[in-house]
Symmetry: C2
Subunit: 123 residues, 2 copies
């Protein structure tokens, strides 16, 4: 496991950017989106997030757990059951995420059009 996020300097000018690192990895948003609706099992997350590999799902969940945004709950059953849910801290992120989500719904078409125009003009 390669957890080298050591340079967590709060005073750094990259403070703003580091904030986004909390949520900007490829699968983080999707995991977060699934957990918004409540506690979910590992296998359910795997099933519902299309295209995610075991490795990436685990890695993403570990990172969210490490950041205190997600809670991991292991039930000592056979076979094992693991449930994930948002922590109170994680829930404070829901609103900002929704804000971005709303922006997408409203403006993503414009972005696609802009790209099309840009690419066309470049030819």
């Amino acid at each position: 496991m390669n957890n080298d996020f050591q340079s967590d300097d709060k005073e750094s000018p990259c403070h703003y950017r580091r904030a986004l690192e909390v949520v900007s990895s490829k699968w983080t948003v999707l995991v977060f989106y699934e957990l918004e609706s409540g506690k979910k099992r590992y296998s359910d997350l795997k099933k519902q997030i299309e295209g995610v590999t075991q490795k990436m799902l685990t890695q993403t969940l570990r990172q969210l757990e490490r950041d205190g945004l997600v809670n991991r709950q292991v039930h000592p059953t056979v076979p094992p059951t693991v449930e994930y849910s948002l922590t109170p801290l994680g829930e404070t992120l829901i609103e900002p995420m929704r804000s971005l989500h709303r922006w997408t719904d409203t403006h993503y078409d414009s972005v696609l059009e802009a790209r099309k125009a840009f690419d066309h003009q470049k030819l």
Copy 2:
């Protein structure tokens, strides 16, 4: 590219992730942050965004321009002057970005603490 299927469903998680792709590259947020306060020259951006290389700054600006979020204005002087500013579309992103920014200011300390606790517990 397996997960790159297109869905017209505005509520689809796939759509949700795409939102972040617009803003989640390493330097995008910092560039955006600088341009919030108005039109800036390339060299000023380079100076104010600590640690960014020419390559990455140019690359980031091109991407933002392609997405229709940033306007590029070339003045035919010698030597050349290039100014960047937010487009109207780009300005619509300011509020969502501020929302994330506020979250950072309020909760980033908690994230750092959570990381510390998590890492400590792992030893």
